[in-house]
Symmetry: C2
């Protein structure tokens, strides 16, 4: 497998304080790039780009390395403070309030890609300032597929930079409300068309416990979420989805509709695991066999036969 | 086709006043039984049970008859007032407020089934007082499959009667919030199990624009909703779903998992049409060819291939 078939993941690496109706965990390792990188690592080699302070636990860096994630792009700032997020989930687990955010070393993050990352064929720009996403994108030689996630904050305060980076990616992955906010269209079919006018050929709209929609040209695909009996901590579900999605593509498939559909299901599979525990507790110990067996569960979840009504 | 392969539908036949963010219609013909009966009529013979006043337009009764719906069980009360509902949809079209309800002839409804209805093999008890649902059920000889819908009001004020009728049906069809309210379980997998403990072997949880879930034994099926560019009026979507679902079963199939899955998609197909217009404007003029062609759209919407990761 050449370096072409590897995925660069850039985004937040964080320490979270997560409060759910049932439990809470402070010092919970988080960050969009952390979750996306671990999820993708089951499907392709991953090169991580991020920044932490020296309060970030060394054993978590070792966890990433054990998944064969290249962490040479993870900058550790001596004396610096890792990005911290504190949040509380509502009873429905689909909504949350941010209680505190401390940017720490994130405030001055100016990523320098290790030279061997630059010819990776695949790039996932996880949620982070659009300027940082752009600077990473500009250091890549010729990525075949670039995926991008963002959040309401950047739509509010950095729209010109966000639209610039959106115009240069193939796949935008955002949630329902962000799609509406970005395009001014309430209807998701129209919102997806609005996104495609900004540049991306494909739009993935994430809907939490309701699954995700893919719009690719005139084609629409609906991926369900697996109904789960125990949801411990939804943090990172969207990131694990994106990691599984991009990780599957980084195996070298073309960004055609059929492959994007399969990628949506791998994303859904990885997302279905991460919510079963805090942080990456449930995500870190998977293997291909379990992933394929849950993929088969998604086939069963959506399978139906056509009836002959003649 | 024997009378065994026909579906009795009982529930409200109404005159609505529907207000959406874009438009409104007063004197909009509505009612759960109206929508369910029309949806089901494409798939099986339908015998309607309901009550209206003489303010109910004769041309709407003729509309039903043109769909070959037997309306001999629709009581018209001289001088009576038809049940009226007035409601306003929120911008998201998935939530609504009831502005006014006038029970009219509904208040004293004591349905008497025409004798030839009693040996129908299939029965759909659309949303109505649980006592009325019970009285209809008791007039049936030996229905093969009984489906039931209800609403938060009856869970609040008539739980004993509701639990009695639920214990005697095979399929309960309710929305997410009702499932939670009925069982006290927020998690839908647990809520579905709680419903099955009340009697029904199968539980359909309706999720509006997110589709519907079927729980049948240990089997779970997720039916998507079709992403639509124009939603004019969501009133009756759940009823059209139930009508399509029951109408397909009433063709004589057994209530096994595979047939229930196909029935879920016919329900989703009929629901996808009704929301495109007020009242039954878009539902009334369909034919089997259009229904089958939209069924194929649902196949495309959910189709994905398994990848070999070896």
């Amino acid at each position: 497998m050449s370096n072409q078939q590897s995925l660069v993941v850039v985004g937040s690496v964080a320490i979270d304080w997560v409060i759910t109706p049932e439990a809470e965990r402070s010092e919970s390792i988080g960050g969009a790039a952390t979750f996306a990188a671990i999820a993708a690592s089951y499907l392709s080699p991953v090169n991580l780009v991020g920044i932490v302070g020296d309060d970030f636990p060394q054993r978590s860096i070792e966890d990433l390395r054990r998944k064969r994630i290249d962490t040479s792009g993870l900058e550790v700032v001596p004396g610096g403070k890792t990005f911290r997020w504190k949040g509380r989930y509502h009873a429905n687990m689909n909504q949350r309030d941010t209680l505190d955010t401390q940017l720490g070393v994130f405030e001055t993050f100016d990523p320098k890609l290790p030279p061997r990352y630059a010819d990776s064929g695949y790039l996932f720009l996880a949620n982070i300032q659009p300027e940082v996403q752009l600077r990473v994108l500009e250091q890549m030689k010729a990525p075949r597929i670039v995926g991008l996630d963002t959040m309401n904050l950047w739509i509010d305060i950095a729209r010109p930079q966000l639209e610039k980076v959106i115009s240069r990616v193939g796949v935008l992955m955002i949630n329902e409300e962000e799609a509406r906010q970005l395009t001014g269209e309430h209807n998701l079919v129209k919102a997806a068309r609005g996104v495609r006018k900004l540049g991306p050929k494909s739009v993935v709209i994430k809907r939490g416990e309701y699954g995700a929609l893919l719009f690719h040209g005139d084609d629409v695909f609906s991926a369900p979420a697996l109904p789960l009996e125990e949801v411990v901590d939804p943090t990172g579900a969207g990131d694990a989805f994106a990691g599984g999605f991009m990780g599957y593509l980084a195996r070298g498939v073309e960004p055609h509709g059929e492959h994007l559909r399969t990628a949506m299901i791998y994303g859904s599979v990885l997302a279905s695991y991460i919510v079963g525990g805090f942080s990456y507790d449930e995500l870190i110990g998977l293997d291909l066999e379990r992933i394929q067996s849950r993929f088969a569960l998604f086939q069963r979840l959506t399978d139906f036969a056509r009836a002959d009504l003649a």
